[in-house]
C-alpha cells in the first residue's frame, strides 16, 4: 500500500478501516542468500538497500525481539556529518545525503528535519580544532560555518552569554544537521524491505552461527535453524554476544548511554545544540519534548538503564548553557546499550570466516549512520568489496595502527 495524502483522505472518510499491515509476519524459508542478524535500523536498512539497490531479495532479517526495539528506538535522533577524520567524514556525509532523499525513497515520512546543529566553542584551542573540522567537512563536500558570539546570539538568545563558567566564544554550525523521527526510520526501512520480498523474522533469537571448515552455513535460532549463504552480524549493542557465537573477540565494549526527554513544551530550541565544556546536547522533538543527553555512564553493561551521577551531570550541563530550562521537567530517562569501539569508530568488514560479515562498533553515533551503514554493508555483502566511503572501517586497523580516533582518547572505549 502506497502512502499518500489521498490515501489518508480516503481512509479517513471510510473510517480508517482499510489500512494494511505495514509488513508481513512470514515463516522463514529454508535458505536465504543473506541472513542479517538484528532488525534494528542498520539491519533493516541493509536489507532494504540489498533489495532495492543490489537486487538481492532472498534476504532474512532475524530479530530476537520486535523490529526496531534496539537503539534505533532509544536514541536522541540526531543526524549530522560534522566529522573530522578522513576515515569518517565522507561516510557520514554520504549518510546525510541519503537522509535527505530517504522519505521519498521509501515512501514513509520519517520527519527528517534539517534545522541545524550548533557545537558551542568555549576556548581558543577548541576554536582551532573546530576550524580544522569545519574545513575537513568542506573538503568532503559537507556544509559548515564558524559562528561568533553575535551569530549565536541571533540564533539562540536564551543561551547564557553573561554569567557562564565557560563563556561561549563561538560555534561550529552545520545547517544540514538536524533530527529524524527515529522509530519511523526503522518502520520505513522495514516496510520498504518487506515490500521487496525481504522476510523480517521477529521474536526469534539467534543462538548459534553454523560454521563448517571456515565457511558459514547458517544460524541456529530459538525457533530452529535457518540456512544462509552469507550471515551478516548487525546487532550493535549486542555485537560482543553475537560475535562470541562465532568465536570472535571484538575491539568493543558494551556501555550504556542514557537519554532524556522533558515534558512537552511550545517550541524553544531551533535545532540541535551541544555544549563544548560539559556533557550536554539537546534538541526539541516535534511533539515539544526537549530530547537531551550527555556522556555514557562509563562502565561495561548490557542493562538498558543508567545511574544518577550521569543524570545530574547532564542536567548540570544543560543549566550551565541554558538556565531557562530549570523549570522544565525531565519526563523520562532510558538507556541504550552501545557498542563502544576502541577508537570510537565503527567496523563494516568481512571476517576471517568465509561468508560471515560484521557491522558493529557504532558507539553512540549509530543513528545518524543508519542509511549509509545499510548502504555500505549491502554493498559489501552484494559485491564482496567495501564501499569507498567505508573502506577505512576495517577490523585489522588496530593491528596496523590505523585507528580512526576522532576524540583522540585511545583504546579506552568509555572515553569516546
Amino acid at each position: 500500500m502506497r502512502y499518500s495524502a489521498l490515501k489518508i483522505l480516503t481512509q479517513g472518510l471510510t473510517g480508517n478501516k482499510g489500512w494494511q499491515p505495514a509488513w508481513r509476519e512470514p515463516e522463514p524459508k529454508a535458505e536465504y542468500d543473506v541472513l542479517i542478524i538484528g532488525a534494528g535500523g542498520h539491519g533493516l536498512a541493509t536489507a532494504y538497500y540489498l533489495a532495492k539497490e543490489f537486487g538481492v531479495t532472498n534476504v532474512a532479517v532475524v530479530e530476537k525481539g520486535w523490529l526496531g526495539s534496539g537503539n534505533i528506538g532509544r536514541n536522541t535522533t540526531i543526524i549530522r556529518s560534522n566529522y573530522l577524520l578522513e576515515g569518517n567524514q565522507p561516510f557520514y556525509e554520504l549518510s546525510l545525503k541519503l537522509w535527505e532523499g530517504l522519505e521519498q525513497d521509501f515512501n514513509y515520512n520519517a520527519m527528517v528535519s534539517q534545522r541545524g546543529i550548533l557545537n558551542l566553542i568555549h576556548s581558543d584551542g577548541q576554536r582551532d580544532a573546530f576550524a580544522r573540522r569545519a574545513n575537513a567537512m568542506r573538503l568532503s563536500g559537507a556544509d559548515s560555518e564558524l559562528l561568533d558570539r553575535d551569530g549565536i546570539h541571533a540564533m539562540c538568545p536564551f543561551l547564557d552569554f553573561d554569567n557562564a563558567r565557560f563563556p561561549i566564544q563561538g560555534a561550529l554550525w552545520q545547517p544540514r544537521g538536524g533530527t529524524v523521527r527515529h522509530d519511523a526510520v526503522a518502520w520505513g526501512f522495514a516496510r520498504g524491505a518487506d515490500t521487496r520480498g525481504v522476510d523480517i523474522l521477529q521474536n526469534r533469537e539467534v543462538t548459534g552461527i553454523d560454521i563448517e571448515d571456515g565457511v558459514v552455513k547458517g544460524v541456529q535460532t530459538s525457533k530452529g535453524p535457518i540456512r544462509a549463504k552469507k550471515v551478516a552480524m548487525c546487532a550493535a549493542g549486542s555485537s560482543g554476544r553475537v560475535a562470541a557465537l562465532a568465536g570472535m573477540r571484538l575491539p568493543i565494549e558494551s556501555h550504556v548511554l542514557q537519554a532524556f526527554v522533558s515534558e512537552g513544551l511550545k517550541p524553544v530550541i531551533p535545532g540541535v545544540i551541544t555544549f563544548g565544556a560539559g556533557h550536554f546536547y539537546v534538541s526539541q522533538s516535534d511533539k515539544g519534548g526537549l530530547v537531551f543527553g550527555g556522556d555514557i555512564d562509563g562502565y561495561n553493561t548490557y542493562a538498558q538503564r543508567g545511574n544518577l551521577p550521569v543524570v545530574e551531570d547532564v542536567c548540570e550541563g544543560g543549566m550551565a548553557i541554558m538556565p531557562m530550562i530549570g523549570r522544565a521537567r525531565l519526563l523520562r530517562m532510558w538507556g541504550g546499550v552501545m557498542d563502544m569501539s576502541m577508537d570510537g569508530s565503527p567496523i563494516i568488514d568481512a571476517t576471517q570466516t568465509d561468508g560471515l560479515y560484521l557491522n558493529a562498533g557504532w558507539c553512540y553515533g549509530g543513528f545518524k549512520a543508519t542509511p549509509a551503514s545499510g548502504y555500505c554493508y549491502a554493498h559489501l555483502l552484494a559485491t564482496g568489496r567495501p564501499h569507498d566511503t567505508a573502506r577505512f572501517f576495517r577490523l585489522d586497523r588496530f593491528h596496523r595502527g590505523a585507528m580512526i580516533d576522532e576524540k583522540g582518547v585511545g583504546a579506552q572505549p568509555n572515553l569516546h
Binding site: 499491515p21 509488513w23 522519505e103 520527519m111 527528517v112 584551542g125 580544522r132 554569567n163 563558567r165 542493562a303
Partner: protein, 990 residues
Amino acid sequence: MTQNSAQPGSKPQPNRLSHNGLIDQSRSLNFTWNGTQYQGHPGDTLASALLANGQRFVARSFKYHRPRGIFSAGPEEPSALVQLRSGAAQEPNTRATVAELFDGLTATSQNHRGSLEGDILALNDWLAPFLSAGFYYKTFMWPAAFWEKVYEPFIRASAGLGKLSMQADPDIYDHGYLHCDLLVIGAGPAGLIAALEAGRAGARVILADEDFRPGGRLNAETHAIDDAPGHAWATRAIAELASLDNVRLMTRTTVYGAFDHGVYGALERCTDHLPTSGGKPRQVLWRLYTKRALLCAGATERSIAFANNDRPGIMLAGAVRTYANRYGVTPGTRVAVLTNNDDGWRTAQDLQSAGVTVTALIDTRSGVSPPKNADRIETGCAVANTRGRRGLGQISLTNGAVIDADCLAVAGGWSPNVHLSSHQRGRPTWRDDIAAFVPGSELPQGMSVAGAANGTPTLAAAMAEAQTTTRALLQDLGHSATGADLPRASDEPASISAFWHVKAKGRAWVDLQNDVTAKDIYQSQKEAFRSVELLKRYTTLGMATDQGKTANVLGLAILAEAAGQTIPETGTTIFRPPYTPVPIGALAGRARGKDFRPYRLTPSHKWAEENGATFVETGPWMRAQWFARPGETGWRDSVDREVRMTRNSVGICDVTTLGKIDIQGRDAAEFLNHVYANGFAKLPVGKVRYGIMLREDGICYDDGTTARLSETHFVMTTTTVNAVAVFRNLEFARQCLWPDLDVHLISTTDGWAQYAVAGPNARALLSKVVDDLDLSNEAFPFMACTECTVFGGTPARLFRISFSGELAYEIAVPTRFGDSMIRALMEVGKEFDVTPYGTEALGVMRIEKGHFAGNELTGQTTAAMLGLGGMVSKKKDSIGLPLSQRSEMIRDDDLRLVGFHPVDKGIDLNAGAHFLTKGDPEDMAHDQGWMTSVAWSPELGHSIGLGFLKNGQNRMGETLRAFDPVRGKDTAVTVVSPHHIDPEGARQRG
C-alpha cells in the same frame, strides 16, 4: 448539600461542602485562574479550589484540543495541566491536582490559541478522521522541501503543551545525600505501619511521601482505624514518628527513581507551596543510600473506555471521594457513578452522606447488589456515550437509559503503583483476581513491596502485610521489632470483574493527554504494530507527561482484546524513571552559572588582578592571558610587548598549573623508565630531564620534565590538562603492573607557587633572589635543579628549564609565599624592566621556538609525528612501546610537525587551515595536513605557524596552500623548520 457560608469579603465557592474536609475553612486564600480571582482554603490544591469554584473545563488536550477537566486527585493527572506562576518563574505543565494552594497563586490554562473556551485549534477535532494513529508517517512528504518549511513549523507550533518563560530560572536548587537502614516510600496506611515498626525498633528510617499531608488514602476515605477516622490515626502515627530521632519524615518528597544497589532519587519540594522561595532552595534533590527499601506507594485508579469518556466532569471515582472527603468539594451537583468493582460503591455512599445528589450508580457486573446510595441503581450495563460540549451534561447507558449528570465518577479498578519496582529489570506480573499488574519477582536490590502497591488493596490486609514485611526486613538488618499490635481496621469487600471497553460508536479515549483512542489501538494492531513497545511508539500511548499512569493498563487490555489474546500473553507495562517529572533545575542543583564547576586560581591571581590581567579558562584553572598596560589598544599590543620584553630582558609567568607529582622510593627510577618512553634510570641527582609519555596504544599523550632531587626522590611535572590522568596512570602502573616496586606518589601541584623567569636577564634577576647559590652556567647549567632558599631563608626549588627558548628558570616556593613571591620578583626585576607575561605570550614564544602543546597533542599524535620518534627507547619495556611500532605509525610519509611562513608576510595565518598541494583538487583524498598553531612573531615581524604535514620533514621550502574555506581564506605558505628562532638552542643554554 450544604453550601459554605461566605466569609466577609469572600465570594461563595459553589461546590464547597462546608462540613467536610481536612482543610482549614476558617481561612481563605486568594488565587487567580485565567485572570479571574477566586478563593480557596489552606489544605486545598489548585484542582480542589477550582472544582470548589465550579471550574470544570480547565485544559485542552494535546492533539485534538478537546475540552478537558480535572480527572484525578493526584500525580496521575493526565488532563488538568496548567501554567503556574508568571514571569521568569512560570512553570508549564503543572498538574493542578498536586499544586498546593497558596495565597496569591496565579495560574493559566495552556495549549490553546485564543482563549481556553475559543481555542481555534479545536478545529483539529473535526479533522480527527484524517489524524488517526500514525497519520503523519504517511503524508507531508510532498514536495520534499515542504517538511521543514511548511508542515513541521505548523505541527510544532500546535504541538507542545505549556510555555517556558525563556528567562533564566530565578530560583536556586540544592542536592543532598541521606543514609538509612530502611526507606519507606509512601506514608499511607502501609507505609505508616512500616515506619512505626522500624522506627520503634531503632532502625534508621526515612519515610518519604509526595503529598503535603501524609496519610495517603486515609485522608481520602472514610475508613475507621481503632474506631476513629483513618486520618486521625495517621495524624497520631505521624506525631509518634516525628518524636523518634532515628526517623526522618519527609513530606512533599517524591521518591522518583530506584537506581543500582539501593540508591534512590528523591525530590523534596521545599518552597513550591509558598508565594516565594525567599532565597532558599526551591527544591532539594536527595540521593538516598538505603540498606532496604519498602515500597508502599499505593495504587492508582484507572478509567473505562467508552464513547466520549473524556469530557470535563468525568473523573476517577476515587478522586471524587478524595475531593469530597479530604477537600470538602463536590465535583458536581448531580453525580453518576460507573463501576466494575465494589470500591466504586463507596463513591456513591460518601457523596450521599455529604449531601450530594447521586443520580445513578451503574455497575457493569450482573448479579451484584450495590447499596442504595443513588437515585437509581443499574447493574449489568455501562455508559455508552456522553453529552455536553464544555462539560458533562448527560450520559446514556448501554441499556438505552439517559441520565442527567454533571459529574461521572468512573471506577475501573486500581493498578498497584509498581513503578519503582520496575525501574531496573523487574517486569510486573498479572493477577486475574484483582485484574491488575503487581510487582514481579525481580525487584531492585533491597526492595520489598507492601500494601496496595503489592496488590493488597484492603486496609487491614495492607497494614498487616506492611507489618509482616517490615519485621522480616528488621531481622535482616539486625534489629528486633517491638511486637506492638496492629491497629484495628476493617477489611471492606474488594471484588472486581475486569471490564475495559464499551464497544460502541464514537471515540473512546484511553490516553487522555495524548488523545489515543481505542480505535487507534485497533488500527495499530491491524497495521502490525502488535507489541506493546511498538504500540506505544506508533500511537504515543503512555508517552505523555503522566507516563500513562491511568492509561497503560487500559491500553494493554484493549490491545489484548484486539489481538484476541489474554493480557499476560499480550505483554506488560514497565515504567522508567522518574515516577513523576523532575525539574531539570533540581537535577542540576547548584551547578549553574559561575558555579557550574569550581575555579582553580594560581598563587599570583590576586596580584595579576591588580595588574591589569585578563584571565582565561584553562580547564578548571583561571590563568592570566595577558597584562594590559595603559595606552595599549588591544590584546596584540600587550602580547607583543610581553614577548619583546621577555626576549630582550626578562619576563615572569606563573606556571603553577602544571601538574607536579612527588615520586619517592627505592625503585622510583626504574618506575620512571616504565612510564616514560625515554630513559630515566640514569638521570643524575640535581638534574632535570625532558620526557614523553605514551598511552599503551603508542600515542604520545603527555610530556614534561622530571627532576631528581635525591637517589630516591623525583619531582615530575605534567601538562596542566593531563595532570589528573597522568597521576591515575602512574597509580595504575604502580599498583597493577609493577606492584612490587617501592615507589610512592603524591600530588604537590597546589603546594608550590612556581614561576618561570625567562630572558637574557633571568640569571641576573634570580641572583638577587636565591640565597648563596652559584647560578653561573658552569655551576648551574641548562637542565640543572636544586633545592635552595630565597630572600633570606624561604625554602624554594630551582629548575633551569625553558619553554620560551630563552635562558630560563622555574622557581618554586611554598604556596603560602606565592603572592609575596611574585611581588618580590617584580620588585627586584624593576631594574631589568621585567614584565609579567600571560598564556598568550607563552604561546607565542613556544610556537616561535617550535615546542608543541595542547593543539599538537590531540591524542592522535605519535612521537614520530612530533619528530621525537628517536626518543622512544627500544631497550627497555615502557608503556606504549610495542604498539608505537605498528606499521602505520612509523611510516616515513606520515604527518610531521613542521613550521610555516606566509609567502606574503603581511597575511596572518589561521590555525585549522588544511594544506593542499598546489594544483591538487580540494578534497579529502588530497588533504596534506593542517595548521595546528599560529602566532604573530614580534621577533620575525610576521605570522608563523606550526602544523602537521604529510612527509613534512622532506618538504622544507615547498610552497603549499593553507586552505581555509570556512573563513574564506586560501593562503600560500612556505614549509620551514618548526624552530622559527634559535634552532640551535644557544639562548637557553647560555
